[in-house]
């Protein structure tokens, strides 16, 4: 079974530029998550989708971050404009149903460097 796919794997941009990340979850998984992992820290949830709808985006900096999940499958996370403090690994995860018993499976992440 294919795992969670993410692209690109690495991205370097200047501050104030925009960037987008793509995620394809495990086939059949209804719930998709975006996390931010700053070096030396654990992942922090940015947004959670259940099918097409947003379940939790309380920690998403909405003035610069946006995310969408079209047709309940793939998702994109966008940052516009980027700041130096956005340098981090952006992880996508998916789970079958999104309940407390569901295991989240992570992709390899996209490492973003903002100069």
């Amino acid at each position: 079974e294919a795992g969670v796919a993410q692209s690109p794997r690495y991205k370097i941009i200047e501050k104030r530029q925009s960037v987008a990340f793509w995620c394809n979850p495990i086939s059949g998984h209804a719930t998709l998550y975006w996390y931010q992992q700053i070096l030396g820290q654990g992942p922090k949830l940015l947004i959670q989708f259940q099918n097409n709808g947003v379940v939790d985006d309380s920690q998403l900096p909405k003035d610069r971050f946006s995310a969408e999940r079209l047709k309940g499958v793939d998702s994109t996370l966008k940052i516009q404009p980027a700041k130096l403090e956005d340098s981090a690994v952006y992880l996508c995860a998916s789970s079958f149903g999104g309940t407390s018993e569901d295991t989240q499976y992570f992709g390899p992440g996209t490492r973003l460097t903002v100069l």
């Binding site: 820290q41 992942p43 995860a93 992570f106 490492r111």
Partner: protein, 108 residues
């Protein structure tokens, strides 16, 4: 607000030297405690889920246990390939809250 504290931050072991990693947590209504392994440049890899105090789970050289306030990840006779960062996370409601991890290095 849910909180997770992991200790030690880093641990260096000799091959075959058993030890334990600690995960202390506070959560309103624990729905699950998760252990993940993360290798450099990769996403977290699922290891275990524990749901209630007293529960234990094993996988090869790893054994996870859970009490009402903390979880332990016991590593028996570790090998160099067990070197990684081990992350603990708790779920109260929908959201997973992660600790900062324990970076384990196993040397020959």
């Amino acid at each position: 607000e849910d909180q997770v504290t992991q200790s030690p931050e880093a641990l260096r072991l000799q091959e075959g030297e058993s030890s334990s990693l600690n995960c202390s947590y506070t959560v309103s209504g624990l729905r699950g405690l998760f252990w993940y392994r993360q290798d450099p440049g990769k996403g977290p890899e699922f290891l275990f889920t524990l749901y209630s105090a007293g529960e234990e789970k094993e996988k090869e050289r790893l054994k996870a246990t859970l009490t009402k306030k903390e979880s332990f990840l016991h590593i028996t006779a570790p090998k160099p390939e067990d070197s990684a960062t081990y992350l603990c996370a708790v779920q109260g409601g929908y959201k997973l809250t992660f600790g900062t991890g324990t970076q384990l290095k196993v040397e020959l």
